[in-house]
Symmetry: C2
Subunit: 142 residues, 2 copies
Amino acid sequence: MKQLKLSNQLCFSFYALSRLVTSHYQPLLGPLDLTYPQYLVMLVLWEHDIVSVKTLGQQLMLDSGTLTPLLKRLETKKLIKRVRSKEDERSVNIHLTAAGRQLQQEAADIPEKISCSMGFTEKEYDTLKPMINNILKRHADE
Amino acid sequence: MKQLKLSNQLCFSFYALSRLVTSHYQPLLGPLDLTYPQYLVMLVLWEHDIVSVKTLGQQLMLDSGTLTPLLKRLETKKLIKRVRSKEDERSVNIHLTAAGRQLQQEAADIPEKISCSMGFTEKEYDTLKPMINNILKRHADE
DNA sequence: TGGAATTTAATTGTACACAATCTAATTTTA
DNA sequence: TAAAATTAGATTGTGTACAATTAAATTCCA
């Protein structure tokens, strides 16, 4: 019986934690004129240089309704370029620009700073990482 | 070195998990014409009947910029009533209406359903609940 | 006591998030 | 191969989130 409320409470904790995380990124990303979701897109591009909107959506678990306007904003800032694919005209490839690559340097210390800001303990890393990724993975289809 | 990326990855997991949670509530709340944040407000009201916007904001960690329009939508649906306090005219008290209390019955099985939908294991409850609440608590000030 | 500081909501503006729908391109298959 | 089904993004509309500002009420305190 008491169990029932637990799921609700745990879900609320996840919801609150996500917003806490975003709020800790904000002061780090603000100076780079990036939001957290925009930063996530840049992280993917810094790894791959070119990715399709579809791939981006799969990696970040976001749909085109979210990504299309977000990518347009990144393009306005000259950090990326949206290029419709020649091979498959339905697909749009996102290219990292020189300015976008440049930004990687300025963002280099963010992982360390966010780690410090959130103050995760060793134990929290080791426990939460696999457990939460397990939850995400078992719902991977959607 | 490898540690640095971990914080970024763990934070992304939290962000993704929060959206996963919301997506699992949606089919349960849709029939009640509630969003997840609206449901959270109703949960507080089902416990207390009357709460101030300030208290609500503290409980849910949301500010008036989020709550004011959300509460207006709940009022439009006749689930709550917004009443400016007589004792302190700055404060607005949220009252549960009869329809709002009625809705509690229809929402009674949501905790069980969300538990089933998310499929948390016993171990996940026992580990995640205290660990995540600890993280939230140590950043409680903001 | 009366002005300064604080508190509480509301407002404004920007940016997600996602359901639902649409269009165009590609693939399937009858 | 031509119609049907699928796929990739874009669009539309609703609803959060939150920073920054504003306005009104209350509290502080010199």
